[in-house]
Structure formats: structure tokens, C-alpha cells
């Protein structure tokens, strides 16, 4: 199961504890996490389920490339960091 760690800055708006979920892509893993925490989904993804413009996701230290579909691969041992992008100020 991949581990998902959220930026501490989101925690005062909606609790996003570190979670574990299975899946082979970022999308699959995150949707499982959001199924248990639906309010958090809109803080990370926009209305089209793409990554919000000023958010970033790293998989094992590498920034993901597919911000629209989140198709970047994930291993069972992966750690996914959901962070704010500095582009958002």
C-alpha cells in the first residue's frame, strides 16, 4: 500500500491525516483516500478532478507529470506527498 502525506497547511481547513491505500497510479491511490475523506478532495483536485493549479504531488520524490489524469505510476512501497506549489504564493 502506498503512503499518502498531506501538507500541514491544509490541516487547519480539513483534517488530512497520513493515509495508506492501494493502487497503481496516483489517481487510484488518491481516490481511495478521498473516498474515506470526501471533504479533502476539493482541496486538492478541481471541478474536473485535475490537480489544482497551485498544488503539487511528488511520488517518491519526483514531481508528477500528468496533472490532469494523475496517471503517474505508483508502487506499493511508494510515498506520495501532496504539497502546495510555491507558484501559489
Amino acid at each position: 500500500m502506498a503512503k499518502v502525506v498531506f501538507t500541514p497547511n491544509v490541516q487547519r481547513h480539513v483534517g488530512c491525516p497520513t493515509a495508506e491505500a492501494g493502487g497503481t497510479t496516483v489517481r487510484e491511490v488518491l481516490e481511495k483516500v478521498f473516498a474515506d475523506n470526501p471533504q479533502a478532495r476539493g482541496y486538492v483536485l478541481d471541478d474536473q478532478s485535475a490537480l489544482r493549479r497551485h498544488m503539487t504531488i511528488f511520488v517518491d520524490g519526483q514531481m508528477i507529470r500528468d496533472r490532469a489524469h494523475l496517471a503517474d505510476p505508483v508502487k506499493a512501497s511508494s510515498t506520495i506527498h501532496v504539497f502546495q506549489a510555491l507558484s501559489g504564493g
Binding site: D47, Q48, R52
Partner: protein, 366 residues
Amino acid sequence: MSDRLLVSTRKGLFTVMRNGGHWDISGVDFLGDNVTLTLTDSRDGKSYAALDHGHFGVKLHRSTANGWEEIAGPAYPPKPEGYEEKDMWGREINWSTNKIWALAAGGPDEPGTIWCGTLPGGLFRSNDHGQSWEMMRTLWDHPLRKKWAGGGADLPGIHSICVDPRNAKQVSIAVSTGGIWHTADGGKSWTQRGEGMRAEYMPPEQAHEPNAQDVHCLAQCRAAPQRMWVQHHNGIFVSSDEGKTFTEIKDVQPSVFGFPVAVHPKEPDTAWFVPEIKDEKRIPREGKLAVTRTRDGGKSFEVLSKGLPQSHAYDVVYRHALALDDPGDRLAIGSTTGGLWVSEDQGDSWACVSHTLPPIYAVRFA
């Protein structure tokens, strides 16, 4: 008379109360967060607050007995696969709520109905106090909607929603830029209105194109809904036929440029504006903050400045930052430089509540 103001600012939502003849800040919610607009629904007393968290997106909160709760915000439908829609720079338009720019309560016979206007141009309605939202596809899918353009922002947006007090199925909205649109059937169909407005920023042959008009704010008189006032990007316009046609009001001093307009609820000829030097400067003329008022349908205007700063004032009052209370006696204005003033005599005189607030986006009596 309303004794309570909600002041939406870049760094929180401030509550201002009248105590012993003075208006004082009595509380703050969402301190540090960007609050862009509120609505207090007089039908049930519920308040709604729109927040823009930047990274984390636009959120909507509703008041409870113990504070606020986050509720569903308006969400755009999935964009069809392969469908392309681009802005004037050729960038793909994201079908996602970019900003909540208008909130309005439905009619007295529609408890729980709330209208919401957004950037990039979606209009939404909730029939359950904001628990869920339906996008007005009839407007979003209208071919002329795709010709809307940004006005002051990259994306177009709906900033004014007027629900006809006689019949809540009749709703008029205003778009920057996209003119005025009207439904007579509760949103089943929409027609463009606003003949007679004039856009200086368009080529001459398109200056009177209704869909190109940059309406900054639209206001409808409660007792005489046929009367509508428009503060436009390059002028002031008045309508006596529910927005079908407008007449331009010219030669208003100190300026016809501004963002907000408010109309008296019972006197359709009485309206207030906040003038600024047009449009490339957007500061009060000669550094003197003033409100203008007409009582004769625009034939003449009074410049109201008693109690407002008259030296080196660079306050800009945005379209939602001029408030008029329900009886039409008290006004409030909030500025981009954090100034907040209240008038209890229809603008004849003003008292400063604070000049050190964060940038103010919206002021509403509640």
C-alpha cells in the same frame, strides 16, 4: 434599520455592530483567510461566506448556531472529452469554479433557494440552502456565452443577480463582460438584454453590442422593479423597462467611472455611486473620497463627502463594497486600502469605523 455589518476582507470576515450610536468591530471569523463575499438570507437568517484559499480553491461556508460549517460549493460539470474552449490568449478555459462573485437569495416563495454567480461564467442555483448546486446549463450552453470575456480579470464572471420581487422566476444577471441576461421562467431559457449601453473599448461598429458591455454592477429597485441602474466600465446607465433598454447618464461629476451602484428600495430615482478617475487610474479624484447620489433619476447628482477623507485618499470601493440597508437609510462602504465608513442619513454624512482593515472586497448589512 440594520445594526450589523459583515465585512469581507483579504484577511478575514469582520462583524461590525452598532452600539450606543457607534459602529465597532465586534468579531472576526476566518482570520487570515481570503473572504470574498457574503450573503445573509433575510428569509431565514442564514449567512453564507465565500472563501478563496488560493492553493486549495474556492469554498463556501454557512452559518450555524455555533459558528460556520463548510458546505458544498458550486462545481462545474465534467468537460466533454476532446471539447476545446479557449480564452482570448488561446489558453484552455478550465471548467472549474475560479471565484464566487455573486450570491443572491431566491424569492419569498422559494425557501432555501440561493443563486450563485462565478468566474469563469457559470451561474448556479441551490434549492436546499447550499447543500447542493445545479448549474444553469441553459445559460452556460448558450452560444453567446462563449463570447463573454474577462473584465478586470482574465476570465468572465457573473457579479450581479437581481431576483424580481414580483416574480422570482424572473431573474436578471450581469456579466463582466457579457452584458445583461434575463430569464422569465426560472432559468429554463435566457435572453440578452441591455440595448442602449455603449462600450468605449470596442470598435465603433460594435460599441452597442449588448454582449460586449462591461457592466460593473446592476441594481434593481424593490418597489419599482422596472427601474434598473447600471454602473458600467465607461458610464452610468438607467433603465425603466426591466433592463430591456438603457439610457446613458452623462456629465456626472466627479466621474462616471466606478464599480458599485445601489438603488433605494422604495424610490427608484434615488441611487448611489462611488466615483473614481476612469479607468486607467482608478483612484478618487484629487485624492478626495466621495459618494454620489441622485434623487431625480440621474438628472442631477450630489457629491457626498462629509466624514470621508478629503486629502490623499486612494481608496477604491469595489462593486460589492457599497451596502444599503433594507429600509434604504443606512449605507456602508469599504475600500481596497482597508477603510470602512457608515452613513445613517442616506450618505449625507459618514463615520469612519476603521482605516486599518485588510483590503475590503464586500460589505453587507446582515
